[in-house]
Symmetry: C3
Subunit: 187 residues, 3 copies
């Protein structure tokens, strides 16, 4: 393992704190709806979703450090910018409820690409793609299980939102940056 147990736990907590803030917007706008209601909820979010985001954050950061050396010039300012970018894009996706999908997808995807242009390296792009594929696959699966659903006007990508890859891509780039910053603390 490249990251210490404490660092992995910190990343888990970060993901688990960010997720309910973004997810709240999806729930109150009717972008998504939880169908499995007889489970633990954190604010408006199902516990299993919060656990998945937290675990994904820690796991992806660990993967990042196996993909190549961390840039030494990255500092917590870059990490903060990445977290703000992801939270801003996440909130924006909720505010796009009721808007036509193509411009919504173009806007969110453009913001995901800009997040990479400002903060990412090659390994960060790989983490972004891993997050986009993994995150979408996970949501397609859990929607298929009937645990939740996207509003039918939005869930046009195998049942999930077509702007989801752009959002998860930004999440993957940011997680990669956070891993790089933490890696400096190891050495």
């Amino acid at each position: 393992m490249k990251l210490s147990p404490l660092q992995l736990f910190g990343l888990f907590v970060l993901g688990a704190i960010v997720a309910p803030f973004g997810d709240h917007g999806h729930v109150i706008t009717g972008t998504t709806e939880y169908l499995w209601k007889d489970t633990l909820f954190v604010w408006d979010s199902a516990g299993w979703f919060v656990l998945m985001v937290g675990t994904g954050t820690a796991l992806l950061a660990e993967i990042r450090l196996h993909l190549g050396p961390a840039r030494t010039e990255m500092n917590w300012r870059h990490g903060l910018a990445g977290i703000a970018a992801v939270m801003g894009i996440y909130a924006l996706t909720a505010l796009l409820k009721g808007q036509p999908l193509v411009p919504a997808v173009v806007l969110v995807s453009a913001l995901g690409v800009l997040t990479w242009c400002a903060l990412g390296d090659k390994a960060g792009a790989i983490c972004g793609v891993i997050a986009a594929i993994g995150g979408v696959a996970n949501e397609v699966a859990t929607a298929h299980f009937g645990w939740f659903r996207y509003d039918e006007s939005i869930g046009t990508l195998f049942g999930v939102a077509p702007w989801l890859p752009g959002l998860y891509f930004a999440f993957g780039v940011t997680t990669s940056v956070l891993a790089e910053i933490l890696a400096k603390r190891i050495r």
Copy 2:
């Protein structure tokens, strides 16, 4: 005084020009409403509001230069970026009328943080916090006096909008950057 009278006047004028453009959006969307109508208006903005923003801009810039040395690498491109960021966020807050508050606040706050990440230093963060506290306190007070009010769906932070700290934070960071650029001209 660190800034010359002419520089302070220029900052006052800048604030007094920017304010009515942003405030117009708040008024026409019904985000805010002036209740004290028997006073001087500049476009849709009460004169006292324009004076307050102009004075606040000059005062905060002066404060900035007492907080520590100005970075010599800051130039008018950074200042222009800061002004564009503040005007863009200000306009965005008007466009968020009718949207749910939590994602609106997350988005505006994220943009405020990104403004700092791109442009700010430690003293800029302090100026951002001073502006957030001072700006919110000032609006809480003037709303309490009955001079204006936020729409009741929005004014959930002691009567003012909960995205107001994020907007004023970006304003404070930008004012700090402008002070740094002007400080170079003094020496």
Copy 3:
């Protein structure tokens, strides 16, 4: 000619691919409507519009390299950021349908300025202004010919949208950056 035929063709294709994605948003939101329907369409876009954007992209890039030396530090990351910025702003203009015009114009113009602050040089600003004037003049003319129209709530700038200069400015800055990157390949 500063650019090779292949580079000019590549720029033409890029413009011709980006245009229908942005234009689709304008058409489906009713921001614009094609009145000359008896012509070739690419998705929702008239062929003549796609040709104009493609030609304008190649032409403006060539002009850029006659305005002064290209910066050697610009790379394809800057070009990608510019393309993402233009596509994002283009999509945003569609999502602003129904919103009040002044804050919409302030927001789009601020994003155009920020695109320049992040990516542009002096020649890039000139290209941005050329694109803003030329793009608006072209749309005013084709709207005057009756080929298309803006929704009457939006077309307040000689029949076209008042946020159009901000969008074309970002397009001109980005095209200038792309020209600089391609110029490096010439030498």
